[in-house]
Point group: C2
Chain length 596, copies 2
Amino acid sequence: MRTAEIHAQHNKLIWFIALPILAADLYSSVSYGPEAGMTELIGLGAKAHWYIIPITIATVLLLGLLILSYIMGILAYPSGGGAYAIAKDNFKPRWVSLIASSSLLVDYILTVAVSVSAALEAVASAYPAVAPYETVLAIFCVFLLLVVNLRGVAESARIFAWPTFGFMICMLLLIFTGFFDELQHGFVQHHTPTFGTVPQGLSILLVLKAFSSACSALTGIETISNAVPVFREPRQKNAIKTYIALGVITSITLLGFAYHLYVNGISPNPNDTMLSQLIKVYFGHGILYQVIIWFTFIILILAANSTFTGFSQLAAIVAADGFLPRGFTNRGDRLGYSNGIIALAAAASILIIAFQAHTNALIPLYAIGVFLSFTIAQLGLTRRWKRVKGPKWQVKLAINIIGLIVTSVVTVIFAVTKFADGAWVVLVVIPTIIFFSLAIYKHYQNVASELRIDLSSFKPEANKVITVVLVSGTHRVVHNTLSFAKGIATEPIAVYVGFDDESIKGMEEKWEEWGTPCRLVVLKSPYRSVLAPLSRFIKIIEAKEQNSHVQIVIPQFIPKRWWHNLLHNQTALLLRLWLISQKDVVVTTVPYHLRK
Amino acid sequence: MRTAEIHAQHNKLIWFIALPILAADLYSSVSYGPEAGMTELIGLGAKAHWYIIPITIATVLLLGLLILSYIMGILAYPSGGGAYAIAKDNFKPRWVSLIASSSLLVDYILTVAVSVSAALEAVASAYPAVAPYETVLAIFCVFLLLVVNLRGVAESARIFAWPTFGFMICMLLLIFTGFFDELQHGFVQHHTPTFGTVPQGLSILLVLKAFSSACSALTGIETISNAVPVFREPRQKNAIKTYIALGVITSITLLGFAYHLYVNGISPNPNDTMLSQLIKVYFGHGILYQVIIWFTFIILILAANSTFTGFSQLAAIVAADGFLPRGFTNRGDRLGYSNGIIALAAAASILIIAFQAHTNALIPLYAIGVFLSFTIAQLGLTRRWKRVKGPKWQVKLAINIIGLIVTSVVTVIFAVTKFADGAWVVLVVIPTIIFFSLAIYKHYQNVASELRIDLSSFKPEANKVITVVLVSGTHRVVHNTLSFAKGIATEPIAVYVGFDDESIKGMEEKWEEWGTPCRLVVLKSPYRSVLAPLSRFIKIIEAKEQNSHVQIVIPQFIPKRWWHNLLHNQTALLLRLWLISQKDVVVTTVPYHLRK
């Protein structure tokens, strides 16, 4: 079943229900974006505080431009399509679309790591006792998300609308409370830092760096454009409506939040998030504080959760095109792409451990992937408008060209300002993924061409099969195995490996007593190896009977209880592993299920 | 090959070469035995120091009695035989011999843990910087011993004679230096604690406890009696000569060492072994100190090493009798019983980690197993003399009865005085091992009786085989698999599992285009499971064709490079695992080795 078919079974979403469901990823970022920006300027002291205002305004302008560009994307691809699909449609060289896909995949991983870390930092602000266990608890959260996603969450997605609504209301409440407070106490208060002063040591590079970090608040914009098919008809119009509404709410929140942070002179504190500090200013340390902190926690976890669907679906699409291991296209029982879900959880856990769940340490790696894929998508759309044209194509083209210029400039700013802080890791990882993607593609092509046959001329004919049965004595298991072997072969060969003359003679006598069920070959192995003499025997047969299949029949005990396996030599298993990997022989396992 | 045969290939050992080779286990214990005893009395201060003299005398008397008893054992069983063999020969109930074997196995594990820990404590006395890494280094030593033993050490055993000789010479040198010193400075010196005073807080229980701990110096006596076959003829006489010589040297060492410790007023110090302290008194901190410390280290490691042979051989003997998993009788390439060697290393490592490589923490668990097996052996010998009689049997019987009484009293003293300190662990573990041993025996008996058949009447006849081939399309791998299947079956059935009508129709058309190589059954699986429809299909066949073998033929890709496995679904592997464990079907894997 395709995603579309699943959704067809449910009601499509009304836009104001779709809004919170699809908003978690973008909207949750407001809780850490402004703080990430201000952290870069912390060394300059209170005189630099006012920079939060212009930086946030620039971020909001960028947000508006990105949303406008994405609306162009929806107009171009009504059935939805992320940067990968757009690039694939507009560029012939495969590596262009692979830049988009691999940078998005990397950023999805970072989204999980950053969101979960930020969620725990929010909780640790309220409960300092949690702080030493942030990494462990973050890993635990990722594990829970893994389990939930493996069990499948798509059907209950509507539930996720409410916490996001709740968090939006909390943030708006905070902002309006702030304004009422300022109406009473003045828009510039005694603890408000001065505005417009240029502190010592400030450089353009530093401001750009702060801006780059603040832009981490913009990750998650692409969610709606990927999800156009889930909207109620008219899908395009509703998706665009949602985009605009989300843009407006996010802008209000970012600007209001940043302004109140400035007015109250709040600066970053590693043990207390700026959001937590601001809530305490207006609501104290009571029940409302708890409610907002926990809503923050939940929305950040939901942001990480939505990434699981995004990552595994993108990985599946890229894998279906042959650029990632085919296993990513496997669906589990609950229709989730299990391997993608597991891969994401593992990669995010590694990041969380490596960075000790510190959001601000992860930020330099973050967002660059998203902006890289934005750029590719804009470039693709630009090409499309020039090719396809359509109504008002010049306007759309103009928007995407502006978007292209701005996002590529922002990407370069990112790469330059944060290169040494960790962005270089991403700039090494993305080409590596592309390199492997191309190698994987080539491998699949090679295999496909090796396997292709001409159906009209190359038909399966019965091949000669030499059946060799390994026997260890003359008991019920051997009886069962020989009965099977005689059923498929007219002349099976029984092979017995003996460690000394005594046991070989004993076997030969018993075999005769049994009426020689078939030809018996005894191999002496003074060094107690079964593999070596068997290997020699197989070579002799292969030399004598070329182009025929050699089949080794191995009996295997299946005990009634699993721990009984410890009591039986796993010779059958080891032999099979060795034969399959080292030899070109067919291996047949005849199970004998023990009754006791 | 049996151990005897291996030894037959080499020269048998002259007794004075055999002495150091077989002495490492017992003689190395002198380095920690007296210290373990004195540690129990540390709370009583210097007034209790003189107790080292009577305790060591009691230990030496016990040593003499044990050696005498073991000589009786050699006279009774000239081909060698430990407590397990003696018990097996003299008691019908299996649990009696199992007490001997399981207590010995437990004690072998403790020997490795204690010896390696003591070896590192010796080194840490000389190099305090090593102290924090004792556990890690101890694990590393066990790992080295594991590797060395898996590679086989029996042939180079003669090399091991020299370090033991060296350590003996060091100890005797130390003792004679001590006597010369005392000849010059007096046998009672100014720092010698008073003799014969009864310190406050001393109880009989405490003295018995100290004695129990000091008896850890007696572990390893059984080595010679197990090794009688390695001696040059007359074997018995030479083994007895070795026993007596070893007894004399060990007694002199223990008594001399204990006396000098007393004279110099040396008390236990967790950071500096008593041996190390005594060496410093006579030789200072120079080259001789280094030599003796490193000889101590080496002999303790050799003691642990000799245990690997002892443990794995005993486990193999018990396993051959059906009381331990049969895997313990498997020999590796180098003729060592690999599984026993690995099991010992693993168990000893767990103990070292659990007790942080503290010798004195391990001591309470130690030696009780040895004394338990001593007691069983004495009891067995007592019964034997009464049954078999022979020359001077009354004398031998009397010796073993005295031995029996003393060792059983010592065992009870051990169990009571050290119960709370850790002996209870051993007293829980030993019955648990016996319980599982009996369960394992029963399982093997059940299996054997289930497998036993009458060769004259129950002969293998060709059974009807239904061959089912899983096909995933019409390519080269399927061609190869079908050619094989048609070679062994006249009417194989091809089964195709499709996830939607489209793919099923496509397969059916291609199959026809291929000239219908055999009957094709298509199974539709809307939920993308292969197992469920296949399981239903197998059930239908089994219901229709009773008493016949159902054979499932699965093609399997074998990529050229191992990491290519990541790029191919491991369906064949998973299907095979599931079929073998869940169903009574024969599973045939037809490999297709990719060329690229």
